[in-house]
Amino acid sequence: MSSDRPPVGALFRRFRERLAAQAPALPGAPGSHGPKAGRSGEASYGSRATGAGARTDAGAVEAGLRPVPPRDVPPTDRRAGRRKGGGGEQLAVPPAEFTSYYGRPILKPPVWKWDIAAYLFSGGVAAGSSLLAAGGQLTGRPALRRAGRVTSLAAVTASAYFLIHDLGKPSRFHHMLRVAKPTSPMSVGTWILSAFGPAAGVAAVAEAAPWLPERGLLGLGRRLLPPVGHAAGLLAAATAPALATYTGVLLADTAVPSWHEAYPELPVIFAGSALASGAGVGLLAAPTGQAGPARRLAVAGAALELWGSHRVENRLGLLSEPYATGTPGRMLRAGRALTAVGVAGALVGRRNRVLSALSGGALLAAAACTRFGIFHGGVASARDPKYTVVPQRERARQGELAPDVNGPGVGPTGG
């Protein structure tokens, strides 16, 4: 905790140096404690004007905003840099007027690290591939079954690792099993995983049956494993849709503005991306003769995923912004492009093993991009007080209007 700490007061010294750099005539700046009488208001006004540049007087608040001093860059570069940095993105939504406490965030952004975004992906892969495995099992497509079961076990193991690794106290992961709370999506998810994980594990282990000897105790296992694996595979597939969609509620049931407001879409996006991931596994692993269902799954999954992510990027007004800009925006756009490529490849490459495998890879990559994009979009919305204050102000304003509209009189709006 203390090794990388700056010495006491270092931040404030840096801050004063920055101030001094902006306004050389500043009487209070370090090293300029000269005769104060000489530095009257006029001098400092001059420096302010310089700092503000040749800006024309356009509105009080605008004027208040623009000369905002800057960090560690000379004035001219500063303006160019700002435009370069956020210009195109900020044009989409007009600058929102709001007050704040020194621009600091109101909410605490999620403390979840990349593990949780990775879990969103691996959980989806586990769910999608166990559905694929069950389908393969029931319709006599052994390649799909085998690939689905093995991937499902690997993905669910990775999920457990990510979830436990992200805890502040990993040694206490079993405290999750103390309670079952429907108000806590994480508790619900714990129990879904507790049902899904062992079932997926048994189903995957059953794939080892052909390698066992024919006689003795292990021979008994050889005979017993396939039916047990069959039942376990079906159990895993039955819990898979819950595993894939509860994560949407997990993110939405928070105060993070862009996650919470997207609650109708998040489960749909995650369901779609889980299906597409499962399809991706099938396309990668199965010969073209058996991959037909995987292609259809890819189309269905992509449709759900694209519909959902299109909605969150357009329906939420200001709260769509974090999903459309910056790194999360790039990830979601990449996810959409990869999904489109993957589906097209899957449909075109019906008889081409390589093309099928490539499109399967694209679908998996698309799912990962989408999950990370949604995750980081939400985190970005919690970091900026704008996304907390502006929608709540709007809601409060409408709340003040509402009693007139919904009251017993149901009066006309004119009043």
């Binding site: 905790m1 700056p6 020194y102 109101i106 952004p109």
Partner: protein
């Protein structure tokens, strides 16, 4: 099964949580109009509860160097300087020259300072533009200066401003999202209607931190667990006043049964309005608001967001039944798609 009212609407939380013959709900009323920003509450809280230090750096944005409520600061005294002509609007001073506000520049420059509070996410970096805007105030019409207040000389450089101070704390919501989403049962509702973390149960999953609509609860580094105000559960059990209220020299922090505090607050607001402080308003007192009313509520002299409070918080679990419904529909769609993919076609 959970009734809808357990998730939203007016409610007495302790009986709802299963307490039989619970004592009256206890809480804080923080009257910011008499707060002097001495931070005795912060110190008393740390002393009594053994809360670690939260860094000794200066944030540079105002006289507030705590920055925010964190796992290592269970009380946080917000300090706001506004270029509002509070004194000069009275007749004897009306003719006094008033220079331009000096603080927007420094507020913007200091917006992204961070101090190591020993917690995650701790005090987050701010945005320079909103910082400048809030420091400039609503009547601001000129260019901001780039220096701290009071450094220039001459009558023209004099500024008129007011200081707002507020001791912030966990709100102990009627509908506490942190409590409802906690997957271990570490957070619980006490017989006094307050919300407390059991540190021997918490496994640091961090869900409560994302769920809190006020950004109160926070994770301690190294330790990994979530920590926040307990409303001095130990002292309450012994019939004592919480440490911060005990230490407050101006009775800005008042502790008592919530019903009584609400009456007292209403009287105080009426009194302030009478005395010519029309901007006085209560925050978090209303049992019909988005979180069912706060166990710790405030008298403010400006909009809540000026103090770093959300203007209209709504507990996230209000929409939880709808969320589960959507997830159920999505799960059904997923199962149907899987069935259709295997049944239809033969390629």
């Amino acid at each position: 099964m959970i009734e809808a009212n357990s998730l939203y609407g007016p409610l007495d939380p302790a009986p709802d949580a299963g307490w039989v013959e619970a004592p009256p709900r206890m809480g804080f009323f923080t009257d910011t109009s008499v707060c002097i920003g001495c931070k005795a509450c912060e110190v008393a809280c740390k002393e009594w509860n053994g809360v670690p230090d939260s860094g000794f750096d200066l944030l540079g944005m105002s006289y507030d160097n705590t920055g925010a409520l964190t796992a290592n600061s269970w009380r946080h005294v917000a300090f706001i300087e506004q270029p509002r002509p509070a004194g000069h609007r009275t007749p004897p001073f009306a003719g006094n020259p008033t220079g331009e506000p000096a603080s927007p520049g420094s507020a913007a420059a200091a917006a992204d300072t961070r101090a190591d509070t020993g917690t995650i996410p701790g005090v987050g970096p701010g945005q320079p533009e909103p910082a400048a805007r809030m420091a400039a105030g609503p009547e601001f019409l000129g260019m901001p200066g780039a220096q701290p207040p009071g450094r220039a000389t001459g009558a023209e450089s004099r500024t008129d401003f007011r200081w707002l101070m507020m001791s912030d704390v966990c709100k102990h919501c009627t509908h506490a999202a942190c409590l409802d989403v906690c997957p271990t049962g570490s957070l619980f509702r006490t017989e006094f209607g307050t919300v407390v973390v059991q540190e021997d149960i918490c496994n640091g999953c961090g869900y409560c931190i994302s769920a809190c609509p006020y950004g109160v609860i926070d994770q301690r580094k190294g330790d990994g667990r979530a920590w926040k105000c307990t409303l001095c559960y130990d002292r309450l059990g012994a019939g004592q006043t919480p440490a911060c209220a005990q230490a407050c020299p101006t009775e800005s922090i008042q502790f008592g049964p919530l019903d009584e505090l609400r009456e007292r607050a209403a009287t105080r607001v009426a009194q302030l309005h009478e005395r010519g402080v029309p901007e006085a308003r209560l925050y978090g007192h209303d049992p019909t608001d988005g979180v069912g009313g706060d166990g710790a509520f405030f008298l403010l002299l400006d909009e809540p967001e000026v103090y770093g409070l959300p203007p209209d918080p709504v507990v996230t679990t209000r929409d939880l039944p709808k969320m589960w419904k959507r997830a159920g529909l999505a799960a059904l769609a997923m199962a149907a798609a899987a069935v259709a993919a295997f049944v239809g076609g033969s390629s």
